[in-house]
């Protein structure tokens, strides 16, 4: 009897061990399946997110077209240009004057030593008009207006204001996103022009306090160094950057689901993503410029 008992306990132990083993194995397999599934779903969802974002961008473009045709909420557009363009003007002015003055002063002091005094004009055009102007403006606007837009829209989602628009038959994309999109794109292009005004002319005024350059000579040389391609690529860069800033900001604003804690998270995401996309688009356009000219 005692023997049988012992055998039974052994068998019990064995079966327990077997069960553990099987459980472990099943668990392992489940984990493996889980990892594959999770990776797959992540790829799928990021692909889905990409197409969703593309669809969103397409809808903004389409609605922008209708917006420009109908001129419905022009007030919103005006205010967007006011907030994004006019109010960012002082920062843009200070940065561009400083940058331009540095280039002129350094250029005038340094370049003639290599017998390349005339090179200051192409450098001014390259830096102010073509390269740094658009990207610096874009950074400032992304940090200023991008965050403002995504925060504003995020808060609207949280307080159900977006749903209120939908319930009243007002499309939030055409009513909220499109004026911001157009406003930021226009503002970016206008600010780019202002960056050039301050960077090329304002900095000249600053420079005359230190060294003497003849104004007519300066303008003449500048106009000779400037090409239509410079202006086009510069405007294209700022328009693309403006589109990126506004689309990314509104996209992440709408991504807020329920809680107000999501709002700053999405604002940060919109700035980060925006910066990366701006740099990439700038690099792309610069390459295009060099291939073209």
């Amino acid at each position: 009897m005692a023997k049988i008992k012992r055998v039974r306990t052994h068998l019990d132990r064995f079966s327990l061990a077997c069960r553990d083993c099987i459980q472990y194995y099943v668990g392992q397999r489940a984990t493996a399946v889980n990892i594959a599934e999770r990776t797959g779903s992540r790829i799928f969802s990021s692909g889905e997110a990409f197409f969703y974002a593309m669809g969103y961008f397409y809808r903004i473009l389409r609605e922008s077209f209708f917006f420009l045709l109908h001129k419905k909420s022009r007030r919103v557009l005006t205010f967007q240009i006011l907030f994004t363009g006019v109010e960012a003007l002082p920062v843009i002015a200070v940065i561009s004057i400083g940058l331009g003055a540095i280039i002129i002063i350094q250029g005038v002091a340094l370049l003639p030593q290599f017998g390349q005094g005339e090179l200051v004009y192409p450098i001014l055009i390259t830096v102010i008009t073509r390269e740094l102007g658009p990207i610096l403006t874009a950074f400032i606007i992304a940090a200023r207006s991008g965050t403002a837009i995504s925060t504003e829209i995020g808060n609207m989602v949280v307080s159900h204001e977006i749903e209120a628009y939908v319930s009243n038959g007002i499309d939030p994309i055409s009513y909220l996103a499109v004026p911001r999109f157009l406003g930021v794109v226009f503002s970016m292009m206008l600010l780019n022009l202002y960056f050039n005004i301050f960077g090329l002319l304002g900095s000249f005024v600053v420079t005359t306090l230190i060294t003497t350059i003849d104004f007519r000579y300066y303008v003449f040389n500048l106009m000779n160094a400037l090409t239509a391609a410079d202006i086009l690529v510069s405007l294209a860069k700022s328009a693309v950057a403006g589109a990126i800033i506004s689309v990314v900001a509104t996209y992440y604003g709408f991504q807020v689901k329920v809680a107000s804690t999501e709002v700053p998270v999405m604002a940060i995401k919109s700035v980060g993503r925006g910066f990366i996309l701006i740099i990439l688009s700038n690099a792309f356009l610069t390459v295009m410029y060099y291939l073209w000219t």
């Binding site: 808060n155 609207m156 159900h160 749903e163 209120a164 939908v166 319930s167 038959g169 007002i170």
Partner: protein, 265 residues
């Protein structure tokens, strides 16, 4: 405007919030949506209004499925219906007057300011709204915000109006005014879908009652039929829900089929 739900369900993040709901809301009827907190009343209203897209099933508006409508068509449908949000959801960056006039201005740009203002004034008078219309929503009390939200929903004179807890936070006088207004709408042949725990609305207006519990449709029937329902759960919920509203209206007790017995006694 007829709304028909076919096996409607809504899931998000792996969690099911509404499941398998089918019903048909006839034109000109007043449907009271009831259920304990978290049962999915607000969500059901938003799904029906096309504000939130359903993840399963179908919603037919005048026989046409919502899922097959373009965004533009859905917005057009939305134009024919009003929605009162539980938290009012007023546009914070606009004054009250702008909140009320924006939908009209957006859809009917030709309408003059005087025309819009006169319809605003009419609603203000009907609801006895006293606050300054040039204020921003942030300056209002909760009750006043709800009132403005009701006014906004009615600005476009909708055929169908969804109201999510419209009587929340209203003072007595405004509450009475609201009841009058709802009665007027009902007699005008408007369809009303109201999520409310308000016994007065239930007793005075409701034609149909829709009972939700944990995302499932527990009952959808006329008030008369529900009076005699055998379903214990429905009875319990109705009792529970109406308890919360602490009303002593006898009609409600009648609905529950227990007119001879006062539950609060």
């Amino acid at each position: 405007m007829i709304i028909e739900l076919q096996n409607l369900s809504f899931t998000s993040g792996g969690e099911t919030f509404l499941q398998d709901i089918s019903c048909r809301i006839e034109e000109g009827s007043v449907v009271l949506v009831m259920g304990p907190g978290g049962s999915g009343k607000t969500l059901l209203l938003k799904l029906m209004a096309g504000i939130v897209p359903a993840t399963g099933g179908e919603i037919l508006v005048d026989g046409e499925p919502l899922s097959r409508m373009s965004d533009r068509q859905i917005l057009k449908t939305n134009l024919r219906q009003g929605f009162v949000f539980q938290d009012a959801a007023l546009w914070q960056n606009l004054s009250l007057r702008q909140n009320l006039s924006l939908p009209v201005q957006y859809h009917f740009p030709s309408r003059s300011v005087q025309e819009i203002n006169s319809s605003i004034d009419l609603l203000v008078r009907k609801l006895g709204f006293r606050a300054n219309l040039e204020l921003r929503p942030a300056h209002l009390s909760g009750g006043n915000r709800t009132t403005v939200s009701i006014m906004r929903a009615l600005m476009l004179d909708p055929e169908l109006c969804f109201m999510d807890e419209p009587s929340n936070g209203l003072d007595g006088a405004t509450h009475d005014n609201l009841l009058e207004l709802l009665k007027e709408l009902k007699s005008g042949g408007r369809t009303l879908v109201i999520a409310s725990h308000d016994g007065e609305i239930a007793s005075l207006l409701a034609d149909w009652i829709l009972v939700l519990d944990e995302g499932r449709l527990l009952a959808f029937d006329t008030v008369q039929n529900l009076k005699h329902t055998e379903d214990e759960r429905v009875r319990a919920i109705l009792r529970e829900v109406l308890d919360l509203s602490t009303t002593y209206d006898t009609d409600i007790l009648e609905i529950l089929g227990e007119s001879d017995e006062n539950p609060f006694a």
